[in-house]
Subunit: 222 residues, 2 copies
Amino acid sequence: MTTVLIADDQPMQRFGFRMLLESQDDMTVVGEASNGTEAIRLVDRHHPDVVLMDIRMPGLDGIEATRRIVATGDRTRILIVTTFDLDEYAYDGLRAGASGFLVKDAQPEELLAGIRAVASGDAVVAPSLTRRLLDAYIHHLPSSATAEQNPEDPRLASLTEREREILTVIGQGWTNTEIAERLHLAESTVKTHVGRILAKTGARDRVQAVILAYDTQLVTPA
Amino acid sequence: MTTVLIADDQPMQRFGFRMLLESQDDMTVVGEASNGTEAIRLVDRHHPDVVLMDIRMPGLDGIEATRRIVATGDRTRILIVTTFDLDEYAYDGLRAGASGFLVKDAQPEELLAGIRAVASGDAVVAPSLTRRLLDAYIHHLPSSATAEQNPEDPRLASLTEREREILTVIGQGWTNTEIAERLHLAESTVKTHVGRILAKTGARDRVQAVILAYDTQLVTPA
DNA sequence: CTCCCCGTCGTACCCCGGTACTACACCGAC
DNA sequence: GTCGGTGTAGTACCGGGGTACGACGGGGAG
């Protein structure tokens, strides 16, 4: 039996959660809190498996409450359930030690699955936030292949000397017209070079080519 | 209608996926591949919304196939579905550009929800992996508190929080369309933000904005 | 010598990016 | 209450960027 504590300042929201959870025969609601301080007290008393934690509550908010509950070393897991997936506090909640972050407009089944996952030690994140998380930290993910950071980056290996030259000035923000003028070329020639650079490096457009130029240290930040 | 391509070397597995997907009236299977090479070819032909990608396949595996499909700039999203959640290649798959990672023993509803999330530009990660992801990178999560303490480059001083967020993803090479999708905005809104960013920073176009993002360390080389 | 890569240039075409507006809801400051 | 900043969204327009072709001279490798 999974014991759950509901922490939300909106009574109707608590009621909805309680109805949903009580309809499951493997879950039971052991208490309701309307602010962070109350949540901490009830966790200390009941030691629930999971806390459904709202972020925006009067007095002590859900983030700080999460932080303090986690700090006690209690086995209670915190699942943050808030209204907006773009809430800036989402990151803070996870950093505070929450085991999950879901949005309130999620399907009831998703919420229930999230509670069960969190209760069993796993973690869940709303898809909309997962996207941003991955985008922000994809480059920090460990790689099974040893990351090579050679002076000659393999991503530039197939470029000719001229193409590398063009990529450098692209990385400095020049337009095709400017490149043509300053390098005494026809703009069509510049376009040909740019096209080949994109094809060889896999960059989609000159923006990604600029990023590649920085990542490979072909150009360096000012 | 969400179009899906199934890439798995086990015929029975493909059959199971196909039966599940075809039972949904908002999904249709546009093809099946038994290895990575075939998957790439079928993506190029059908441009499906989502690819259900197995990792372990003879010849070209799912990771490399993902990498190459993503590199084409095609709008196709890759959802990796594999047998073992402990598979070391999971990280590689996400780094290769996959929009999600699920395990095959997930509930059918989870799989369907994952496909829909990925098709709409979001991302999904299996709870068991999410736990490990958070544990490993929790300390790298941005904090709204620390963000305020960061010494600000004067060139970014006039930008609002939202504009800084947009500039960050511009610095990661996203197109306006992608920004709109992944941040759940209208493209016109994105253009408004981009226009204000350029006006405030003096950047001529998004290319120079990327350079500015690097120079001010709003984004850092990989 | 012949082949092929490289660098050059051209045309045609389409789409994305950027600009120039307007508009509206929200919210905090005055 | 009014005002301004912010975030959202829309329409219309145009130019640059990127693609898909083809073409040609030079030069090194076979």
